[in-house]
Symmetry: C2
């Protein structure tokens, strides 16, 4: 693994565990066995390093959540969406962890703000006052709860997987489908 890739990996782990602000370039350099100057050679600034660390995950997140926008989530697509969503959570656990924990406080970082804007729209979806409060809250609890639970498990250094990855995936999809069952098809992000 090149120094650049190693720095990216270390930075992601540290940002997710200790926080972006609480992680100094000095510490990242030490963990990688290089100097702080070397970090700034590969990444022009701390913010660039953050962008490199979580940018790809946020791109993917936007793709996964895209179907929720506009016309809404059709009944037939729901299973496909949940599968894509759960796969995304499991594949990018560190990045999701970091975004969940620190997204709200890193509002001035473009790459974070891009994801924040998306979450803000989704949050508006289940927070706006309307007739079907329950449906919206079911949606929020399903998506937010799944993400938060996986991150909490990871953050606190508990056993890497609650069951095998495949079992986790299947159970998670089952629960989310169950939770969203009472939600009518075309309500999403109307």
């Amino acid at each position: 693994m090149s120094t650049q890739e190693e720095l990216r990996t270390i930075a992601l782990a540290e940002f997710a565990a200790a926080g972006y602000g609480a992680t100094s370039l000095q510490r990242i350099a030490e963990l990688a066995g290089v100097s702080k100057s070397s970090v700034l050679y590969h990444f022009a600034s701390k913010e660039h390093l953050l962008e490199a660390a979580i940018g790809p995950a946020i791109d993917r997140m936007q793709d996964v959540l895209a179907p929720l926008e506009g016309a809404g989530l059709l009944e037939g697509d729901r299973t496909a969406f949940l599968e894509a969503f759960v796969d995304f959570l499991l594949q990018y656990r560190l990045e999701v962890n970091m975004f969940i924990n620190q997204g709200p406080s890193l509002v001035d970082v473009p790459v974070i703000e891009r994801a924040n804007a998306l979450v803000r729209r989704l949050a508006g979806f289940f927070s706006a006052n309307s007739d079907s409060l329950e449906e919206k809250m079911r949606f929020g609890i399903a998506l937010g709860g799944a993400a938060y639970m996986l991150c909490t498990v990871q953050t606190f250094g508990l056993p890497e997987e609650p069951g095998t990855l495949d079992e986790t995936r299947a159970v998670l999809i089952t629960i989310l489908s169950d939770l969203l069952a009472p939600v009518s098809a075309t309500t999403a992000l109307g």
Copy 2:
């Protein structure tokens, strides 16, 4: 409101919104219209200010989650527990928001670590490998999802309440009861 109470209120809001590390004593002082020295007069240190800001909420959190420990959550008590849990979330939204977002990264702060230890035990509950992975994940999604959803709604400055407070409370309890319905009574934290 006394200066001390005002500082506590401002600190809580800022810590929750921008993060503990990202909030300087200088900024808190400015928002309160006093000097930084005055802040340090009322609270011996930044950490003491944090303790004053969220300590009471964490005490309450321990009380609310206490029934989950030991013998487990009996069937008859579940509704009472969910009511207490939801009431806690709604009453201490700012504090819960801050704890969810920054608890994992503030491991060296005693008042935070006290709550982290509790969450760590709860997380272990639904992450440990066992026969009833689904039940444990249902539990984690219910508790974590409800907390995270409310925090997200608040963090992003959306309408203060998704519906009236009473309606939110009732709907939330309904959804969580529904989600936990398949969970047998005595599995919790065995």
